[in-house]
Symmetry: C2
Subunit: 327 residues, 2 copies
């Protein structure tokens, strides 16, 4: 068995926890400097006048090994002194922001107020905090995922954290997406990529707010790179988070095929779990190349194993054009 020649420029389209795990696996499998992660900003929110970017933060914390691995977000062993004082002062504290975490939010908000772009800030934060990949937002403009529920329209964080995903969902909107300009650095990274991976993130809440930005969608659709999606579902169940529930609420079938459909026109290949053979067959009928493998990422080593498999498969198919001919 030969060691596959992995691509030098890989882009990962990613949301929070699942995206961060995939990002870490890819960063471990690839040569340093090969990976750029383009992150969802639909979950971004203002807290106490500060700009918090939960998905970007989860990516940076994971890629710099600062992440609280038990909960999947936040900084490991972080304190809650600042939040405790805010609580005593009567401020709402349902968003669990840690002390080290606040350091990043303070810095980001300060830099934004000085006129820096979210792209520059995110890239610099990732670099300075020692992340093993470049991280960029999909857009520097405001884009907010809004959720129409039994209790009316809610912001993502209100529904996800504040209400623990309880209110039934009727509709999603990516407010600001149509006017949002794609991050120029993200567009350049997509254009330069040899391989683009759609992370096993929640399509509705994490990846669609990214591809709802026309500039990103167009860059992806016209990219020279092979584009491979990875299913966030195994046997119709999400590894983490409210995806299956959310798809049911919206009248969608919770299965890999249903997820792949959300990315129609953007992918040439899809990766499903070995246990989802029927899904693999259905996906092949839609014209996608399909890899069946163990897609559960139990730990960083597991994520690296999955990443290497996907990269190897992508590289092999890049070489013989098996995938590209299907697009």
């Amino acid at each position: 068995m030969t060691i596959p020649c992995f691509p030098k420029n890989v882009v990962l389209i990613a949301g929070g926890v699942g995206g961060a795990r995939m990002a870490e696996g890819l960063a471990r499998a690839l040569s340093p400097g090969s990976l750029t992660v383009i992150a969802n900003v639909g979950d971004d929110e203002q807290f106490y006048g500060m700009h918090v970017s939960p998905d970007i933060d989860t990516l940076i914390y994971t890629l710099s090994n600062r992440i609280d691995r038990k909960q999947g977000w936040g900084v490991a062993d972080d304190g809650v002194r600042a939040l405790g004082v805010l609580d005593t002062l009567g401020a709402p504290v349902w968003m669990k922001l840690g002390d080290a975490d606040f350091g990043l939010h303070i810095w980001r908000s300060w830099r934004l107020a000085q006129g820096a772009t979210l792209s520059d800030i995110t890239e610099e934060a990732a670099r300075r905090l020692g992340a093993s990949a470049r991280v960029l937002p999909a857009t520097d403009d405001e884009l907010k995922t809004k959720i129409r529920t039994d209790d009316g329209w809610l912001d993502f964080q209100q529904w996800f954290v504040g209400r623990r995903c309880e209110p039934r969902v009727h509709e999603l909107r990516y407010q600001g997406a149509s006017a949002a300009r794609a991050s120029p650095a993200a567009v350049a990274a997509i254009a330069a990529a040899e391989l683009i991976v759609f992370a096993p993130s929640n399509p509705l809440l994490s990846l669609e707010p990214i591809i709802a930005v026309d500039g990103i969608r167009n860059a992806l659709a016209t990219a020279r790179a092979t584009r491979i999606g990875i299913s966030p579902l195994i046997g119709g169940k999400a590894v983490k988070g409210p995806l299956a529930r959310l798809m049911a609420d919206l009248g969608l079938t919770a299965c890999a095929e249903s997820v792949a459909k959300r990315y129609a026109g953007l992918l040439q290949a899809f990766v499903v779990d070995s246990s989802d053979g029927a899904q693999a067959d259905s996906l092949r009928k839609t014209g996608l190349a399909v890899l069946e493998t163990d897609i559960l990422m139990r730990d960083p080593a597991d994520a690296e194993r999955l990443a290497a498999e996907v990269l190897g498969w992508g590289a092999a198919n890049l070489a013989n054009d098996n995938i590209r001919s299907r697009s």
Copy 2:
């Protein structure tokens, strides 16, 4: 010996550490709800776009028993996780802001951005954090102590913290003082007071920026209350801080009489240390009533002892009008 009947409305004009110690002593000696502290804001500074009020914070932390007693400022046992991240991100971190401390700065900055006044914010923070006295800023407007040094004009915190008071001082300015409107709540507290105490704070850096606000100076000059100053110097030396050095730099003699002169027209009485008998004699010749006692506040019990002595002396003289007739 009868227990003196202490006044019900006392105002303390105060700076940071020395002012906070005096405030704590007075709060312990007086009935709850009797004390209002009017604080210096000349040291206020923006850090990472956040509004930090060092003297107000030291007062609130001391009065709520949160203070780091060893250093005299900051929250006891506070973390430095946020500052550590800011350092890693390349931000200047010479101002040692702790994690719990950041909670207050975040809240204050958020409330200011929402349009609340510094007076309302300060009063609410003191109340919610459990301070044993009301705390108010001298003004809600911007007022900045500027220091002309061998190295040019510096902001107070740049000189005091950033440069450790090293550059020789040639001139002080309270920038914005002439345009600053006095805090209406502070003016009302002065008008309602039966006794006003000038804390043993640095006159040049802590109390003069307060009385440089016309509305505060006028309220003090016309107050019905007896006004008593306490020397920040013992034997020509400051208990803490750069006062003696600063007075020498500015060609002033570092002695109680020299300090009292800074408050000319505002005081009827002055308290000096028992060891400063010659100073007491000189001060009496200027028409001030003088109390000689142990003015060193070694701990909160000591501060309470000094406060009770000053209050008892003030109350006795209030009763027989000994002091008031001198004004």
